[in-house]
Amino acid sequence: MDGLVDDFVARRPSGLEQAYALWSGVLYGVARHAIADAAGAEDCVHDALLRVWRSQNRFEGNREMLKAYLVACVRNESMAVLRSRSRRDAREAKAARLSIVPEADMPVADPIEARRLHNALARLPEEQRRALELAYYGNKTHVEIAEELSVPLGTIKSRIAMAMRKLHADLAEPKEVSS
């Protein structure tokens, strides 16, 4: 049994404190990627964790799944805030932040995982990879991606979903051992 997961599911204060101590960097990184200002990004992390903590969520899984769950919660919170801000401001902010796939020398939260991700993304069909990168790293909506790529909205959704499923199958393979 994982003490952290047990504490979190049981809503013991130490559960939230341990989770934050372990993953504050990645959670804040996710929020900051969507929200330009530091205070706004911190609000997103705070509000997302508070919502999860106060809800009667029935999380089941291991430590990695808990991390993924919290990352998704912060991402959803950040994107909801981004959507609520004016479209004009959001577009300007996104244009300033837009960065497709981290460069090799860019400091990332998890360099090994980032390398595996980079390779897995490279193995995706070009149209799927492009749609996913615009969605996640570009913070663009379906409509914006459809306009940018001149492709029907439904097709964009399908490409992104398909890319996610392929990435899951690829990343679920045993990790490469670097020489």
Binding site: R11, P13, S14, L16, E17, Y20, S24, G25, V26, Y28, G29, V30, H33, A34, A38, A41, E42, V45, H46, L49, L50, W53, R58, G61, E64, M65, K67, A68, Y69, V71, A72, R75, N76, S78, M79, A80, R83, P102, P107, V108, A109, D110, E113, A114, L117, H118, A120, A135, Y136, Y137, T141, H142, K157, S158, I160, A161, M164, R165, H168, L171
Partner: protein
């Protein structure tokens, strides 16, 4: 579950659904295990995508804000435990008081009955059955000392509290309410004057009476 999630299962962890659609996904996966598995897999991929983002550290202020949540929760839990502890202590004290009160009352009753029995054993006494008043079927008996020093009233299965009133040379005397113990109600009294008759009263109504005759 009528219909499984489509592409929304993969789009949800990316934050691409509007609020209504996101809440719809959350409601659906609460009852659909297969879609919950798909969403969990997509969350895992989204977590991997996050690993490619630049590493950033939040300010200490964020940690303090979250500490406020856990500190408040700890204080609440401590208060709840304290409240539960006090409630338990209060119940225990009340239980002990009730037990103590019952013990005292029981001991007092037993004491009175013992005294009555001891009085009977060491006395010469007469007895008389009480005559029920019209419309009453009460069964009652009075034992009383020939020298008039005590009077003991017994009623079998009284269906309501009864009070005894005595007639004496000095006038009417209220002997008090009979004490119920099991199926019997009794009353032991030591009037300082001879009782000539006794009436049992329920409320304001007479339910039985008897005349006490002294001598052999």
């Amino acid at each position: 579950v009528s219909e499984h999630l489509g592409d929304d299962a993969e789009l949800y962890p990316l934050g691409m659904l509007d609020d209504d659609a996101a809440r719809s996904v959350e409601r659906h996966i609460a009852t659909c295990s297969s879609c919950a598995t798909r969403v969990a897999q997509a969350q895992s991929v989204a977590s991997s995508l996050a690993a490619g983002l630049p590493s950033r550290e939040p300010s200490p202020a964020l940690e303090r804000r979250l500490r406020d949540i856990t500190t408040t929760q700890r204080a609440q839990r401590t208060r709840n435990r304290f409240d539960v502890g006090w409630a338990f202590a209060a119940v225990l004290v009340l239980a002990l008081l009730a037990f103590g009160w019952q013990t005292v009352v029981l001991r007092e009753r037993i004491g009175r009955q013992d005294l009555a029995l001891a009085t009977l054993v060491h006395s010469h006494f007469n007895h008389v059955s009480m005559t029920p008043a019209a419309g009453n079927s009460i069964e009652a008996k009075i034992l009383y000392a020939r020298n008039g020093s005590w009077i003991y009233i017994l009623v079998d299965k009284p269906n309501a509290p009864l009070r005894a009133v005595a007639q004496t040379p000095a006038g009417t005397m209220n002997l008090g309410t009979l004490e119920r113990s099991g199926d019997v109600a009794t009353l032991m009294r030591h009037p300082r004057v001879r009782v000539s008759s006794v009436t049992l009263v329920r409320g304001d109504a007479t339910v039985a009476s008897a005349v006490l005759v002294y001598g052999r």
